[in-house]
Subunit: 498 residues, 4 copies
């Protein structure tokens, strides 16, 4: 069993001193282990990145873009391998892993446009004979800390843009499913990136803190849970760094009585149970306006849910796979039970499903809970499992109030065909990413991703235009040439130097 190592200065190394086990959640088996970087390994990663920086910042953007173009090709050519690695360690079914990879590739495609995206603003004559312009220069060495649920996509939100902007990068991936992340980083190396520009260090909280405290790291991007996001934002900022920290979510859909219910149902199924609900954009609560609508919706959901298949990543006919760990499975089950205990009605119960041949895997089946109240624990916490909760409300106002009162504000969606309702909702809802009949309103790669309230700490969102701005610092040059000596006295002046 080979230990998963670190990518430092273009080469994969392992230390062998300390490691953490890595599981196959579909079977429950331990398949490999991931090396824990020692402080000196973290130091090496930063030092090599710092050493690679001067040459990389001076490489013209168009050349940096060409490496990203080659990276796109390699990602496409290696899609099978990547999806397999994701599946083995995360449990995601192939079709879902392909979706993740595709979304990740789109961020690299965006980074290919860096020559255009880095343009500064130029003004002739800010005053008489005085010009000024801005340049967006790279920061130096920047770090990314990424979660288990998208081991390929979320890192690709960060480093392609950061590196295309001229930075060097140190990535600390999740220790749960590090293989696909490392493999993808190696493909970038293969695409022609100079050694040291991209580095990966595996590890734990100490590794993260070493990055947060390192004086040569200029900026930190984080995606994970809200408590960790909050503490990372505080610590990076206390160290004077810029930081963007994306946290948890509790994404509500509203279903209005005029909605196309069949469409709403098919959208909700994917958005609630896809990837076992382990997405920060998963739709985990549906607020339905009017009991009549709620009854109809639940009936239709129930009918469709019997067809859903949970199972191992390796069978592409499954709809979704296991959750990430046994502990997490237990936590999800406990939250379902708590809802039941507190008075909600479990309409479809996914606890302890029978997954033939894989009963040691960490499975939870698709679960539907009706009559959920905002006071319940299952409502207040992010479950991060295949659980859809129905909250019945009497009006759209009431539904919006629930959403606006929640501490999170990542994504939300409304199902309606009414233009006015949709516009009122999108204007007044205090959530960063809004869907109109789109259940997972993850912005495309050329827009930017960011929640509001306690789902996000920082001012610039992830990837897209905000990503470019986050990974660059503005330099403004004001220029005036004071005398016309050379121009007007040319016939009298000798050439100055040989």
């Amino acid at each position: 069993m080979q230990t998963i190592g670190h990518l430092i200065n273009g080469a994969v190394i392992t230390e062998g001193a300390a490691s953490l086990p890595v599981y196959n959640p579909s079977t429950g088996e331990t398949t490999t282990a991931v090396d824990i970087a020692s402080p000196s390994t973290v130091e090496q990663a930063v030092l090599k990145a710092k050493a690679a920086y001067p040459a990389w910042r001076d490489t013209p953007p168009i050349r940096r873009a060409r490496i990203m173009q080659k990276f796109v090709q390699l990602l496409e050519e290696n899609a099978d391998t990547i999806c397999d690695l994701i599946g083995q360690e995360h449990g995601k079914i192939r079709h879902d892993a392909m979706g993740e990879l595709q979304r990740g590739i789109e961020n690299v495609e965006y980074a290919c446009g860096i020559p255009n995206l880095l343009k500064g603003e130029h003004t002739r004559n800010v005053g008489p004979g005085i010009d000024a312009w801005s340049e967006f220069q790279p920061l130096g060495v920047v770090a990314g800390i990424t979660p288990f649920n998208f081991p390929v996509m979320v890192p690709l939100w960060m480093y392609p843009i950061a590196i295309a902007c001229g930075n060097c990068f140190v990535l600390k991936p999740s220790e749960r499913d590090p293989s696909s992340t490392l493999f993808v980083a190696q493909l970038l190396q293969e695409a022609g990136l100079p050694a040291g520009v991209m580095n990966v260090v595996n590890g734990d909280k100490a590794t993260v803190n070493a990055l947060l405290d390192h004086p040569d790291i200029s900026a930190v991007s984080f995606v994970g849970s809200t408590p960790v996001a909050e503490s990372i934002y505080a610590r990076a900022s206390a160290n004077g760094k810029r930081c963007q920290a994306l946290g948890g979510a509790k994404n509500h859909a509203i279903v209005l009585p005029d909605a196309d219910l069949d469409n709403a149902v098919s959208q909700l199924l994917g958005a609630a149970f896809g990837s076992s609900g382990e997405r920060c954009m998963a739709l985990s609560v549906v607020t339905v306006v009017g009991d009549q609508t709620a009854d109809a919706l639940i009936e239709k959901l129930q009918a469709k849910m019997v067809e859903l298949r949970v199972g191992a990543y390796s069978d592409n006919n499954n709809d979704f796979g296991p959750v990430i760990t046994a502990a997490h499975r237990n936590r999800v089950n406990t939250l379902i039970t708590s809802a039941e205990t507190q008075g909600a009605k479990v309409v479809v119960d996914g606890r302890n499903p029978d997954v033939e041949g894989h009963n040691e895997g960490f499975y939870v089946g698709a679960t539907l809970i009706d009559a959920v109240q905002p006071t319940m624990e299952s409502y207040q916490q992010e479950i991060f499992g295949p659980v859809l909760q129905v909250v019945r409300v009497a009006s759209m106002s009431q539904a919006m109030q629930l959403i606006n009162d929640h501490e999170y504000g990542n994504g939300t969606c409304i199902f309606t065909r009414d233009g006015e309702a949709a516009r009122y909702f999108s204007d007044h809802i205090e959530v960063g990413m809004v869907g109109i009949n789109v259940p997972l309103p993850v912005p495309v790669a050329y827009h930017s991703f960011g929640g509001w309230k306690r789902s996000f700490f920082g001012d610039l969102s992830a990837y897209g235009p905000d990503g470019v701005r986050f990974y660059t610092r503005r330099k403004t040059i004001t220029q005036r040439w004071p005398s016309d000596a050379v121009r007007e006295n040319v016939s009298f002046s000798m050439p100055v130097m040989k």
Copy 2:
């Protein structure tokens, strides 16, 4: 003697419980006092701002812009009063106060363009039949904390844009010279701003902390010294807020042998001694390449410096006025003495100048020190007084190394006529605002202001395009209309509602 109060919900109030004295630095006299806001007054300011927010965010940008247009007019009509208030409490000469006001007005002019500046990005067909667009919505209530040295301009960097973006504002100005700040805020009220949108609370560190810790404040802009900037950035961030904190500076000029020396001298005089050097963009160090150039430059500077007049704000023939307090004067004098003690040569000595009729004022004359070394205390600290230090170097590389090694990176300037030298300098110098033969490269209002390294904490600079982005949060809407029921079945469907 009237106490200077707070602007809360459209009215000026004083509490009378606690206050701090306010001086006329030109005479040394205490002229008035400024009220210290109690916690309940700070609370009122935030509450009223919060209450005013929903209506203000829904006011179309063009209407918000029209109030800013009226504000520009009022600022121009009241220029004399404003400059007088600045002069009395800060000591700045009229011509300098007019410059400050003008730069401030330019930020309001920029804010008048808010309908155009707030545009989001719209994409048709992110997928088949799916559109997406971004909106830049206001944050809610935001706060500004501003320094004594530009009591009018620096607040105008912040609140016109913040308010034009749809936010409500609470400003904590410097307690040294609060009158002009308050007067200007009242003019905005007079321009038609609804009560509660703009609020001013005077106070001290406790007032600042109350704002930093208040859960209803979404963002904080700060301008001041680096240690305070750093702690404010850490505290605001630990509270989950977005923050931009502008700190201190040690701005170097480089003079190359090919520079137009007469031009360099005249530029340096203004940049080093204007406003008594109490500017974060003051040029306080000049690194000269080659002894021949240094000797020539010093000779020319010395000749011009005998003509400089320091004196009371009220005489417009003076070149610059007193520093802000007696304590600060003493600190400046001590730093000059330290340079002397540590081996530098005080070429022109401004300590204890004779200012006829105003010898109780807080004056320091223009001071020129040669042979300064990077190890000296006077080099390492920001003096914030009318002191220009010369560091002699053998090459441009050496000069650039000095600048890049300094902890600050606010502004810098090179004097040369050589295109290649200018471009190499502006590209590689690690400073946020660069002048080519422009000694005070403060970006114009439609660009943005921000230093690098420990001169700035945050990612978005002050005012201009970055200001708009800082005071708004991105919302991305993804929209799909699922069925063509109404469009295609019109002849069969009854009108739905009356």
Copy 3:
């Protein structure tokens, strides 16, 4: 009776050789005359503009913007006079003239943002050590030719932006109502514009041709009817100039069965009859889906139309005034009669209304025609009068086909509450300006105005971002500094010049 003259080089002059009568359409009386510029006067206008150009192009944008700010103030202070002049010669009621003026002012406000709008794009390192940037430089002398129906607003679409960009301008206004246009141009002069930058020449077709053929005119903006637009576009282009020519319109509304009918009715009234229908954005055709909806709509329209008041401009209680000339009144009446003859049903007949005390004025009352067919002359031509025609259709597809088949494509609107219908319509309709429940979708000043098909000739629309681009030409500078001689050999080189 004073003849209306030309504004040349800052002064109003008249020649007295040839003139055309100017009417008060509300009374039918000839009130004054407008001077026809001789070829030498046109030549003078261009020459003076050309002479003023070099200094004006070098005036920093911020200073140009300040003149526009002052111009905004003067326009607001002189609103009464301006509206009176519009009313006297055009016949527009005060409230409508105020609307026109307000829309015009918004274009000047936009021009105030020119320092920001003129920014070019800057790229560091297009290649190693090579930078490139774009500048948007003015064209020189540009011309505008404007119609009678908006004597204040349409000229303000053109020259404030053109002049703010650094161009000099020659305006040829309509000879029907030249007074308000001239008065407004004089206000810009009063605002501080240097003489020669803005010029007005009155005249006829020969005057227009003189401008189109003049080698010193670089660009032409035109607004008027399609046949003229077409010939101006051809002639200006044959002379090598850039040209934007806005022509006629036949703007259709679609009313779907789910529309809020009361709202639709109140919107249609204003859009069809406001300004007597003499607007290129007037809604002159309403296509109603389904007979049931059509019957209900017509009933509601009819009920409201009895309350409409046509009459003299001087009574602000009137809803709309006369049309521009007796000949035009006759043409409108003839087209109404033709519809009747060809089988349509005149539901409300506005021919020959009784306007007490003003029966010599050029009045047509609000007219509603049902059962209009696409083959009728009244459908095919732009009537430019207070006539609303109803075309009954069986489906939205049929309505859209009608619109897409029409030669014009200026504005259109749909009344519905259905999001899907609105999006399908706006996406697929071949019209440049689309309203969703907005009957006159004239883009605000910070967007741009332009029709499609034979309503517009050119590529850049009027005003807004396209206006800035139209009135500037791109210059791209690519820069490389070949040697580091000065920078690296400084200690050996003597300062070059004194």
Copy 4:
């Protein structure tokens, strides 16, 4: 010998009715023939493009971009074949053809960013509850007409962006060297483009006119000589189309006495003689300030020119190849002779060079002419051959006057190290593309290409941001939802449809 055909609806066809011979200029032999499209073939091309349009415009931009990514790969993989085809018919040496191809590919790379580039502007609340946004929709079918000198690059300036924007395209390439153009278009087909989106018709002036007059062609891009550009601009415009027509050039360099002469010489050689001077950006005139500088420059040029090798395209050691036809060779020789006759001094004479083994090829050797006067025929005309003319001037002002007086204004360059001279030059020179020590200032693909004066007719430049704007038309949607019926009455309303 196979006749070169047309690409219509995805397939290459030939008619065989009429054709023109195609030469190998390196040998003088006729190698093949190109089919002349009959009117019905042109009609087919337009009809097929029109038929392909609806589906292509509705294909999401990201999918259009992916075809462009694949196209980039195919261009790289087929580089050898492409360069060979260019060389055979144009005579360009391999290294030069590779440069041409590379520049062309960069335009396709830019087109890959179309999802980002097509973004419109969105405004929330242009009025209360009213939103507005712009979309940049495709035009329909557009045409390109391209010259012989860049059979691969110039077409790639046009159709990748046009097609990525959602248009369908008909290309009429030069009849001199059509093979590489056709081959490249077929690669785009191979990359997955639907049939009919891209079409190529070969032919002559009648073919061009058929396109200019076709009512289904919305826009025309042309690159060629000024007289043709001018007539195409007039004819396309008279037909109501938008048009951009790029014409001829006479690009001057200025050499100041402070220039790095060795650098200037090496830059001038490539810029004057590369591609035999058959480039619209070729530097054909060098104005030298001061006789001392001129003498030194000429001496250095002469020394280097002896090393230049003219010869067949197939030998990569040659510096440049033949000109395009025997007739053109004769014209170049005649112009050289005319300069000699009119008093200039032919310093290096390239007439009738001995090219071993290929003496039937159309060769002119590198030619240097001194003492050229602006009155000479060789100065006034665009030679389009390997001829560099020296004009001696006394001052930079005089040099700039010469440039500004010339009818063309495509490119220009200054050699200096002085920042002030460079800035004064780039600001005041009336030329669209300016180099500072960059002899061929062709803007990179993410900026735009366009001359001034009679080098360009139109308002939007070629490729880059202007290209995107040229190939799209603005649609502005203003949206208001009039009632809150659905939102607020939800509990009373039945779901409308199943």
